[in-house]
């Protein structure tokens, strides 16, 4: 392969080749990071919550009738409401809880345990009723809440908790977590772990999406309540249509807000979907522009060197030799750009990790990007290189 003469000849057109090398490098750096961000967003979207998302709906109310000022009335009404919801055909389970999957937040606290060295942060949700049946999560170790776990007096703190497997593993490794105690500060009531749920994921800051404590408690007061309802598959539409009328028939002095968890999930990922669309557009545009740049440079190279090509043909170059020459020249330019681009890709990733994202670059992505741009470069050069092979050797004897 005539690398030497081609490289030496390219040195005389430094600026032109430097421009295209830089363009390829920037393209690789941006494309790999854009793909990295797309994959990260997709990974988040495909992360299972562990819940029956498609069959979950929440209904919350805000009262305006005067009787809601009495806590005892609210207490009795919530029980009636839950029975009313249960009576709707297609309803599988219902609970009161402020926890809504995929709302992109919730409540959390800093905790200590009897054996964990230091403090830890985890999500915390109070729930009453069939919370785990409603979410579609199984208690795989220990037991679920029973009605007596919730103190009659709402001012008395609860003494038990059910936590996620991920949190148990973080705190106690493979040891049995049942019976261990968690507390949120000096003098606070300790909560004993009575059960473990295997699957839990709710996106949350500080990377605590898999860490949760459920406590038995009231997710309602004189200002309103939130019910989480699980329907039979395919019954969502009919259940949603009946929820408000049923609860209004119990007490009409309130307004309702119904949100399907699948809508909440879509809303949560709307930003991510936008990122994916924007990044995809950037990738397509950049690769297209780079292809145009390479095509332009290749066409110019052929147009400028018509006599040179004719001379090479006269001196014995076959059409295949001419094709090889231009493809090789492009390969060298593309490779130089890609080498620079690898540095750019990791450099940009370091910048993004420090400012925007926490996803580190994977070498497979860089390798894939290089292959893509190698193919892109090759395909973009082929038309001009093919034109070069059609230059007749008789051009060599033309005086102009």
């Amino acid at each position: 392969m005539p690398f030497g003469p081609i490289i030496r000849a390219m040195r005389h057109n430094r600026m032109r080749f430097a421009f295209i090398i830089l363009e390829i490098a920037i393209t690789l750096a941006i494309v790999t990071n854009a793909v990295n961000m797309i994959l990260d967003e997709r990974k988040k979207m495909l992360q299972p919550s562990g819940f029956d998302d498609d069959n979950l709906v929440s209904i919350a109310y805000q009262p305006f009738a005067p009787e809601f000022k009495e806590q005892s009335y609210v207490e009795a009404l919530v029980q009636k409401d839950m029975r009313a919801i249960h009576s709707i055909p297609g309803v599988k389970a219902v609970a009161t809880t402020y926890f809504l999957p995929w709302q992109g937040g919730g409540s959390s606290g800093v905790w200590k345990t009897d054996r964990f060295n230091g403090k830890f942060q985890a999500q915390l949700y109070a729930a009453r009723g069939e919370i785990f049946q409603t979410l579609g999560v199984k208690v795989t170790q220990g037991r679920a809440f029973v009605e007596t776990d919730t103190p009659v007096d709402s001012n008395v703190p609860t003494r038990v908790t059910i936590i996620s497997r991920a949190l148990a593993k973080k705190l106690w490794g493979n040891a049995n977590p049942i019976g261990h105690v968690i507390t949120n500060g000096e003098g606070a009531t300790p909560r004993t772990v009575i059960g473990i749920i295997d699957d839990f994921y709710n996106p949350y800051a500080w990377n605590i999406g898999e860490f949760v404590l459920f406590t038995p408690g009231r997710a309602y007061d004189t200002t309103g309540a939130v019910f989480l309802v699980r329907t039979e598959p395919g019954a969502m539409k009919s259940v949603v249509a009946q929820l408000e009328p049923r609860l209004l028939s119990v007490n009409p002095g309130r307004v309702f807000r119904i949100v399907k968890i699948s809508d909440l999930k879509d809303q949560y990922f709307s930003g991510g979907k936008l990122v994916i669309r924007a990044m995809t557009a950037i990738i397509i545009i950049l690769v297209f522009i780079t292809a145009l740049g390479i095509m332009g440079i290749s066409s110019l190279a052929v147009a400028e060197r018509t006599k040179q090509i004719g001379t090479r043909r006269a001196l014995g170059a076959t059409r295949a030799d001419i094709l090889k020459h231009f493809l090789l020249e492009n390969w060298l330019v593309t490779t130089a750009g890609l080498i620079l681009g690898v540095i750019g890709a990791y450099g940009l990733n370091v910048l993004l990790v420090s400012k925007l994202s926490d996803v580190k670059m994977q070498w497979e992505l860089v390798a894939g990007g290089m292959v893509l741009l190698w193919i892109n470069g090759l395909m973009s050069t082929v038309p001009a290189a093919m034109r070069a092979t059609l230059v007749p050797p008789s051009i060599a004897t033309r005086s102009v």
Binding site: P5, A9, M10, H12, G316, T318, P393
Partner: protein, 242 residues
């Protein structure tokens, strides 16, 4: 070495048909130094293109170095141009981005010779034309005469049996022209056949035989009444030869 019989070459466009070579016949023996002269548009360059397999012809036959080259594939013609023929062009046709060494190396690479052999051939050829000290120079850093000597070194490195020279002194002053003609003379003395197209009478006289092309036919100046390949001289040609 070169045997052309009744060669015809016609250039066609949508509206015009130009008979560039009309029933051209010519024989050049191995070791001969033949010059070809003729007015502009007479067909000299077309003759050179056909003789050098740079262009095809429409009819007739062409035997080069004992081989019928009338109907060869593009690849076969490339191989013959590379191994059997050496070209010296009027405007030198050096690759401007390559230095002297790499320019001389161009045809050798297409021949697929190993690097050590190529290096030896290049150094020997550049030594023969007196440019051993300029191997790293670019063509733009050389005079016209030096550039033509590089072009001749490129031919010498390939050790061809036939050299086709197209106005080799056309872009040079008289001193440089003599230098190049001396060089071609020496190469011919070593047994290489040379066919040279030229406008320059002085250069033409350095050849063993002088041919004249007119209206696509060729005539031997030493035997002006015979138009090779044609039984009767055309009036125009006769007038020119007389």
């Amino acid at each position: 070495m070169l045997e052309m019989t009744h060669i015809k070459k016609i250039y066609r466009t949508i509206s015009i048909e130009t008979h560039a070579l009309e029933d051209l016949s010519l024989s050049v023996k191995a070791g001969e130094f033949v010059s070809v002269t003729g007015p502009s548009g007479s067909g000299k360059t077309t003759f050179l293109n056909v003789a050098g397999l740079l262009d095809t012809f429409d009819s007739g036959s062409y035997i080069l170095d004992g081989k019928d080259v009338s109907r060869l594939s593009d690849r076969e013609m490339s191989q013959i141009r590379n191994r059997t023929i050496g070209f010296v062009f009027q405007s030198f046709n050096l690759i401007p981005d390559l230095n002297v060494f790499d320019n001389v190396d161009v045809p050798l690479r297409y021949r697929g010779l190993p690097a050590t052999e190529r290096k030896a051939r290049i150094e020997n050829a550049l030594s023969m034309v007196g440019l051993s000290a300029r191997v790293r120079h670019l063509p733009s850093q050389l005079s016209g005469g030096q550039q033509q000597r590089v072009a001749i070194a490129r031919v010498l490195a390939g050790d061809p049996k036939l050299i086709l020279a197209d106005e080799p002194t056309g872009n040079l002053d008289s001193a440089m022209s003599r230098e190049i003609m001396d060089l071609l003379g020496k190469i011919n003395d070593n047994g290489t056949t040379i066919v040279m197209v030229t406008h320059n009478a002085e250069c033409s006289e350095r050849a063993h035989r002088q041919l004249h092309v007119f209206d696509g036919r060729i005539a031997d100046v030493d035997r002006p009444r015979v138009v090779l390949g044609s039984p009767v001289a055309t009036p125009g040609l006769t007038a020119t030869l007389n």
